[in-house]
């Protein structure tokens, strides 16, 4: 049986952008528009998209940091959107967030011991000695050794990579079931980035089956290296969803195809012979528009695409896609 950890159903977030003079009703930007997916326990899901695709808004909705316009988010069967603030707080230890801005999430006036101890003091009944022992184990777990030295350091005394390790230590302190990481490596250089990704992998392996990740990034190579499932977002909508390797090696949606072809790979032989088809810029989706958000950049656009958003359909290889090209092929058979 499949063990469902997170189920997102028809999640929408519309941000008002002021009233139109003639209609007297508010105009909205569709930041997240009708997103649904299931994350199984122990799975790693990647959410990719470019700026304005709604990926960070989606993460905030799942964590209930902002309220959705409509839709539901079930965490382990509980609709977290129905919960009170108090009930949410009790659930918090089970899902954690790691942010892009490495330093902003660490209090500069507290040393690493104090930063990590705070987590245990808020959520557990451990005494100081037990907490210290836990912190020592944690720091070793994230490669900040010898732990006795790092405990007494302040965030500014650490490098970017080490600070991100502290963030990861804090995220795993309470043994969560889900970690949502929003651009966890985009502030880091190549060599440090690789070290942090390897750490994410190790933590995942150590907790085989007990921990799930949602990794949000514009960095396809990161998503390719760590995730099992991929959700491709464009202008607030999911356009393709499936097995990561399959989608990246063989993208089907015209946007995914454009995105993958645009990724520069460190191989001059490939790059110098590559044909790249990119054009245009994403548009901002307003409420009155009901077509496919990619139509203005798509090489295969038809009149239908401008008027109606294609439904999400399942292809033979198990992936889901929202594109009339494939819908029409399947429904003509």
């Amino acid at each position: 049986m499949r063990d469902e950890l997170l189920r997102v159903e028809h999640l929408k977030k519309y941000f008002p952008i002021g009233k139109s003079f003639f209609r007297k009703t508010s105009l909205y930007i569709k930041a997240v528009d009708d997103v649904s997916f299931i994350l199984e326990r122990g799975q790693i899901l990647g959410i990719v998209g470019e700026s304005g695709s709604g990926k960070t808004t989606l993460a905030k909705l799942i964590l209930r940091l902002i309220k959705p316009t409509s839709g539901a988010v079930y965490f382990d069967g509980i609709n977290i959107l129905d919960l009170s603030e108090k009930e949410i707080r009790r659930l918090r230890p089970r899902f954690q967030m790691i942010f892009q801005d490495i330093s902003a999430s660490l209090n500069p006036r507290k040393n690493i011991r104090e930063i990590l101890a705070q987590v245990y003091k808020t959520h557990t009944n451990l005494n100081d000695k037990e907490i210290n022992q836990r912190i020592e184990e944690l720091l070793e777990d994230v490669g900040l050794t010898p732990a006795s030295i790092f405990m007494n350091r302040y965030p500014h005394e650490l490098s970017g990579g080490q600070r991100q390790r502290v963030n990861i230590a804090r995220a795993i302190a309470l043994d969560p079931e889900l970690i949502i990481a929003d651009e966890p490596t985009s502030a880091l250089d190549a060599s440090l980035k690789r070290q942090i990704i390897d750490l994410f992998k190790k933590i995942y392996e150590d907790r085989k089956g007990r921990l799930s990740y949602i990794v949000i990034s514009h960095d396809i190579s990161l998503i390719d290296n760590i995730t099992q499932k991929i959700l491709v977002m464009y202008s607030g909508k999911v356009v393709e969803y499936g097995d990561t390797k399959n989608v990246i090696r063989n993208p089907k949606h015209p946007y995914t195809q454009m995105l993958i072809s645009a990724v520069p790979v460190p191989n001059p032989e490939i790059e110098k012979n590559k044909k790249i088809f990119v054009s245009g810029e994403p548009m901002t989706l307003k409420t009155e528009f009901n077509g496919c958000p990619f139509y203005n950049r798509c090489l295969f656009v038809t009149d239908k695409c401008k008027k109606e958003m294609p439904p999400f359909i399942k292809l033979e290889d198990g992936r889901y896609i929202a594109c009339w090209l494939y819908y029409d092929k399947i429904h003509m058979l």
Binding site: E50, S51, S159, G161, D189, A190, S191, L192, K193, R194, Q195, I197, D198, H218, D219, I220, S221, L222, D224, N225, I248, R249, M258, L259, I260, S261, A262, V263, P264, V265, P266, N267, P268, E269, I270, E271, K272, K274, I276, V278, S279, E281
Partner: protein, 331 residues
């Protein structure tokens, strides 16, 4: 082909509250006319300082200690370091164009796009306002800006990041420079927009025979656009070579580590690649000897920790490298 740029022994220091940092330490770098050179390295390697030294736009707390940067135009050679403020202004934005990561460091927020391009044209050329206007529009068209008449009348904030960067490139090439210096020109942009801008660079390079120095942390970007690559580490150049050669057969252990550590999509195997451990050194407290030795798996104890390797030419590989593992000629 003749050289367009010859940098020799360039050393640049920054005065910081904690002490003096040598951001560039005896840099030697040559660039041929019509070539695209990628300068790669991690943060703190000095690659941006190099761009700011050539354009003489270093911040106030930085100064050039020694060295020369000789720039060859079609009929003369100029040591950029020895030019007066007034003379460098005649070169910058005219013979040398610049594109930086953040377009807003270069765009005036309260000036229309067309006026900014026109200003850049009229400073360096004796042309009428009307001619400059025509030329500005022509440039916007050349950079495939949709609706150029509208964009010309817009203010920077009305444009997307990708459009702003196109405007910057239009301004940079307005006077048909010999050399374009681009410091992380696509790092702030989305991948699909980055791809468009890189295509644009390629086209401009072909059309004008432009020499481009592109500073980037992204080896994929270098692979896509560059003919040659210079790898920097902690203020020094560690390797220079043809892009294909360096990616296929990196000589310096740092280059090997960098290529072995980067993530990419699809299959990608660098024969000599390995995973880099640790992090780049603190520039205030550099290791003795070779700066890379604490992270190097091939360290020669009696040599690397005491003596800094010079940049030498390994003839049979057509490569410059600064590492004791190799033998070659000094500059």
């Amino acid at each position: 082909m003749s050289n367009i740029l010859e940098i020799k022994g360039l050393t640049v220091e920054y005065k910081m509250p904690e002490g003096v940092i040598k951001a560039l330490d005896r840099i030697d770098l040559f660039m041929k006319r019509g070539e695209v050179l990628a300068v790669v390295g991690e943060s703190g390697s000095g690659k941006s300082t190099l761009a700011y030294s050539i354009t003489r736009l270093l911040p106030k707390n930085a100064h050039i200690v020694e060295g020369s940067i000789v720039f060859y135009t079609k009929n003369e050679s100029i040591d950029l370091i020895r030019l007066s403020e007034e003379d460098i202004r005649r070169v910058r934005g005219n013979r040398i164009g610049m594109v930086f990561q953040d377009p807003m460091t270069y765009l005036n927020p309260v000036m229309k796009i067309s006026d900014q391009i026109i200003e850049g044209l009229m400073v360096h050329r004796k042309i009428s306002k009307r001619e400059a206007e025509m030329r500005a529009l022509e440039l916007l068209k050349k950079l495939k800006i949709p609706n150029p008449e509208y964009v010309a009348k817009s203010y920077p904030h009305q444009l997307s990041g990708g459009m702003k960067q196109r405007v910057i490139i239009a301004m940079a090439i307005a006077n048909e420079p010999d050399l374009l210096i681009a410091d992380e020109p696509t790092s702030a942009l989305d991948i699909t927009i980055q791809a468009e801008i890189l295509e644009l660079f390629k086209e401009l390079q072909k059309e004008y025979g432009l020499s481009i120095m592109i500073i980037t942390h992204d080896l994929g970007v270098a692979a896509r656009i560059a003919d040659k690559i210079a790898v920097m580490y902690a203020g020094r150049i560690v390797e220079i070579g043809n892009i294909k050669d360096v990616f296929e057969d990196p000589l310096h252990p740092y280059t090997q580590g960098l290529l072995g550590s980067i993530l990419t999509i699809g299959e990608h195997k660098i024969e000599k690649g390995f995973l880099l451990k640790g992090s780049p050194p603190n520039m205030l407290n550099l290791p003795k000897g070779c700066r890379f030795h604490p992270r190097c798996p091939y360290v020669i104890k009696e040599k690397c920790i005491y003596e800094e390797p010079p940049l030498i030419r390994v003839k049979e590989k057509d490569r410059w490298v600064s590492c004791w593992l190799y033998k070659g000629e000094n500059i």
